[in-house]
Amino acid sequence: MSERKIRVLVAKPGLDGHDRGAKTVATVLRDHGMEVVYTGLHQTPEMIAEAAMQEDVDVVGLSILSGAHMELFPRVREELVKRGKGDVLLVGGGIIPYDDMEKLEQGGYARLFGPGTRTDDIAEYIKAEMGRRFAQEPA
């Protein structure tokens, strides 16, 4: 009998130190029954992808308030792919203009949540998406 839990890595890439959102979301995801690995601040894309691989997470959540989102989301995805974790669900938020969000989503880099999103909505999205993926996996 499988006892699978959704495993999530929450990280702050780049140099910005605003971790209020990241810590709040990490705590909310825990309250939704997920196992949340929090890696803290000032992470490089390589460190994030390496941790995601070693922790075998299903989801990586990034919070970026530094304006470097167009640089960081693609680089994190690239590093994940390099480590065979291209199938990870990448989600993110922060201070990101709407049209940049569109670009990143359309480019397949990440699913983004804008300012003012209910954290419960983020958790529900992850649960629904991972539920779908777990169901599709070969037994």
Binding site: M1, S2, T27, R30, G40, E46, Q54
Partner: protein, 347 residues
């Protein structure tokens, strides 16, 4: 809410859409792919039906690593100590695997696993593997999964496995006791020595580390612990846990901790270590056995429903158990004489 773009995004990243032949997990594991090690541990954790077959392939390679358990109350500085131990053993050219266990919330089943934050410098080191594990619901299951994870790290060819748990309870001791040498980490103030002794730390400790030795009260704690350890073991031909003062945050005393670990291993000797490991393996067999038995008989036999029925019929707890055990024995005989249970067919 930008549904269109989200759907496009999802379509590109759905798992399992590629049909190209991929190397099996055990092939990737044998090639030294850390992602395969990570996945193997997930299988162990999830009680995945594919794990036993994979484990059979790993088994011949299990038993080479030195296993160190680290436990102690929250705030004692365990992660920092583990980080420093890893730094020191890496400097000796040894590879390190760290398994950090944190409690799951009993209410939501979720967990916050934050130990990596103190081991950030190690993330970039290819000779280090770090894995966070949530305690989930049962402590027996946790110990089983933790030992499986240690076995997997060991089979991967890593030299040192460090198993870290937070807490002072029986569940945590049960987990770390799977290690060859158990370090109990205390610090002045937060991990009050007397309280810790009441909780039975001396039973499990092979080495006592007084961390944050720069704080006031550290000397006193070292003396108290040494006396207690001595009184408990002196003249009985038993190992007396040495008390080592360290200041992991400043990188001080780490060599002393490593020396104490080596002293403990020397005390055990090869034969003693092998005997201790065999007993620990028996304990692990027992854990797996309990899980299998419970799964085979209780879960698959639908015994929850039967218990309900018997209780509704007025039977006492012990009456119910007696009837269930008799029924299980019959079911076991039936299974032994015929059909193999074939795990994994029902997930």
């Amino acid at each position: 809410m930008r549904d269109g773009s989200a759907a496009r995004y999802n379509a590109r990243t759905v798992e399992g859409t590629s049909k190209s032949p991929q190397p099996s997990l055990s092939e990737r594991f044998a090639r030294g792919d850390k992602g395969a090690l990570a996945r193997a541990i997930s299988w162990a954790e999830n009680n995945d039906p594919r794990f036993p077959a994979l484990f059979a392939e790993l088994w011949p390679k299990v038993g080479r690593a030195r296993r160190i358990g680290v436990t102690g109350p929250p705030g004692a500085g365990k992660s920092t100590l583990v980080n420093e131990l890893a730094r020191a053993t890496r400097a000796q050219g040894r590879t390190v695997g760290i398994l950090a266990v944190d409690p799951s919330s009993p209410f939501t089943g979720g967990a916050l696993l934050g130990d990596r934050i103190r081991m950030e410098e190690r993330t970039a080191d290819s000779g280090v593997y770090i894995r966070s594990m949530a305690s989930r619901k049962s402590h027996g299951g946790l110990s089983r999964a933790a030992v499986d994870a240690c076995d997997a790290i060991d089979a991967f060819g890593i030299d040192d496995v460090v198993l870290e748990t937070v807490g002072v309870g029986q569940a945590e001791y049960d987990v770390v006791s799977a290690a060859d040498t158990v370090l109990v980490v205390l610090c002045p103030g937060a991990g009050d020595g007397i309280q810790a002794m009441k909780a039975g730390i001396l039973e499990v400790a092979d080495v006592l580390v007084v961390n944050k030795a720069e704080l006031p009260g550290a000397d006193r704690l070292v003396v108290d612990l040494s006396e207690a350890a001595h009184i408990r073991t002196a003249g009985r031909g038993r190992w007396t846990p040495p008390v080592v003062a360290a200041s992991a945050g400043r990188g001080e005393g780490i060599e002393d901790v490593l020396a104490a670990i080596e002293a403990h291993r020397a005390h055990l000797g090869d034969a003693g270590l092998a005997a201790a490991r065999r007993e620990k393996r028996v304990a692990q067999v027992r854990r797996v056995f309990d899980e299998r038995l419970s799964e085979l008989l209780w879960d698959r036999g639908g015994w929850t429903g039967r218990a309900r029925g018997l209780l509704d019929g007025g039977a006492s707890t012990y009456d119910v158990v007696a009837r269930l055990v008799a029924g299980m024995a019959a079911q076991l005989q039936e299974q032994a004489s015929g059909a193999t249970p074939g795990r994994g067919s029902t997930t």
